[in-house]
Assembly symmetry: C2
């Protein structure tokens, strides 16, 4: 059906091995033959079968990328970055949505293994340590992004969540807020746990108590952010400030606050993890943590390519610092 290496070899009057060598850029081929092969390949419009090649070398040139929500701007930015660096090396990217579901995640990993991917970048869901322990054990290059995998020596790219959360919550306290609620993703996800820890550290270091009724956790989806925030305002007295530890929860919380008719920062303080590009509408009023998402994706892809090239390199953990934008004006002191 399509042109094979043999056709090129015949056209150029050489053997298939020579064609293979030339196209792989291997040395030890005379300039003359190289020229003839290149020309033959071009005139025949030869396109090497990556499938056959993968079978032969027992590894494809495909990067697998498993994230938990393709519609979350946080992840799309990562996808974009991974794409960009992969493309430079002619690696196509398999994209999969785990949907925060560790079974789907495992299924996709299986699929990737069956496709012999060269390596895997994953935003792990909760409770998937064993899966990655296995992958590492079988020498599959894999790097975790955004979330840590505890107890497994593997490459990771994460943010300094504790510090970021501590700083923005501290800023709320120092702005005079006292009943600061937290809207977080599940604490089984490392990011949720770390941001909670930062929240706790900020409160306690300012002599404030952590009140369980002011903390809500749930899966990181916009409707959840809305519901949790609404729920928080059922109490009396209600919170006087909100800290949201995830960008989708942030959207939900803002929506709730909008529907409650509250204004920021007059009626309520707000500090948020955010990745949206439309904050110009509310920007001046918010204290915001912005993660370096593109950078995270880029670093993850680079780590992966490195490991593919050298599977024995010791595992690295790259920790990046989010950008923090404090709300400009300070205000009432209780």
């Amino acid at each position: 059906m399509s042109i094979k290496i043999e056709d090129v070899a015949r056209e150029a009057g050489v053997s298939t091995a020579t064609v293979s060598r030339v196209l792989a850029g291997k040395p030890y081929v005379s300039a003359e033959l190289r020229r003839r092969v290149l020309e033959a390949a071009r005139t025949l419009n030869y396109r090497p079968s990556r499938v056959a090649r993968s079978l032969r070398v027992q590894r494809s040139s495909i990067i697998g990328l498993i994230i938990s929500d393709i519609q979350n701007p946080f992840f799309t930015s990562i996808v974009r970055a991974v794409e960009d660096v992969a493309q430079q090396q002619q690696y196509p990217v398999f994209l999969c949505n785990s949907d925060e579901d560790s079974e789907k995640e495992a299924t996709y990993v299986e699929l990737m293994l069956a496709e012999q991917v060269a390596g895997l970048i994953v935003a792990p869901t909760a409770h998937s340590n064993n899966l990655y322990r296995k992958l590492v054990a079988m020498q599959m290059p894999v790097v975790a992004i955004d979330r840590r995998v505890s107890g497994v020596a593997m490459d990771m790219v994460v943010c300094d969540n504790v510090r970021a959360a501590r700083e923005v919550v501290s800023h709320l306290v120092e702005s005079g807020y006292r009943r600061i609620a937290a809207v977080l993703s599940a604490l089984e996800i490392s990011t949720g746990a770390e941001r909670y820890q930062g929240y706790v550290e900020a409160l306690t270091s300012h002599g404030l108590a952590v009140q369980a009724e002011l903390v809500r956790t749930g899966s990181p989806r916009t409707p959840n952010g809305y519901a949790m925030t609404m729920d928080l305002f059922q109490q009396s007295p209600p919170p006087d400030a909100i800290f949201t530890g995830n960008n989708l929860l942030t959207v939900g919380a803002l929506h709730a606050i909008h529907d409650l008719g509250l204004r920021i920062p007059e009626d309520i303080g707000f500090a948020a993890f955010d990745e949206m590009d439309w904050m110009f509408l509310v920007k001046p009023a918010l204290t915001v943590v912005k993660q370096p998402t593109y950078e995270m994706g880029r670093r993850a892809a680079e780590l992966l390519l490195q490991r593919i090239a050298d599977p024995t390199r010791p595992a690295q953990i790259v920790t990046l610092q989010p950008t923090i934008k404090l709300r400009e004006s300070s205000r009432r002191l209780i």
Copy 2:
């Protein structure tokens, strides 16, 4: 290294052919052998090599998806849909970003062909007709999404853009606006052209002239929307309403209007194509076209799977209707 079909055959005491038949769900295998094979496969934890399979059958079970901007919510929703239906059939999805660049697009198509993808879903860039004509000629299953490919008989999933644009612009006219500007993507992209046509139809059918100085086109990116809108307001008199024909341009235009200190709809009318989920902040003031993105992705994936199953089926064009939400209150009559 890993378990192969031969190992399973030995374990089950049958031939590899039988194993292959059982695992492919083919008939004509005795219940007894089938049972033994299944058991052997399970105990060995056999994972068939999809690469070897692809080489043998000369086609992989991979769906290629080429879109122009992974960070655009319009496309992420499509990606999500394609993913969902592909996953049901155990098709992994190759995702590529053409970045609105037809060279990148062509490169990616090449890559996909080399990986022997089963089929391709593409949001075509401008000027790529020949590429798709070729694919169709070589029997590669391919469906265009969002944008039309003119002069090529292929499957497409598009929206009724002319109608949607005409309706929302008509609504602006009927609300009393007279200097209605248009902020559109390049007219070489079918969606841009169609929305421009709707705009023209709305104006002329209401006896208004189309004024070239009120029309701006450019590549569909947020900063462009900002710049084009700012530019429109350099004129005197300035426009009294804006129609944006793309969701990213909408964001940019809103940002510009915000920076200009204008209020919607008091100072300026606004009708927009939009896919953002945060419109609650400005929603009541806008007239909005929302495309059925998930549905589009789903239909495209279904068309593709159909065509993979039956390459001879005649090409279909699926046209979906966007949802239109008119701004509730009407207002001044000039």
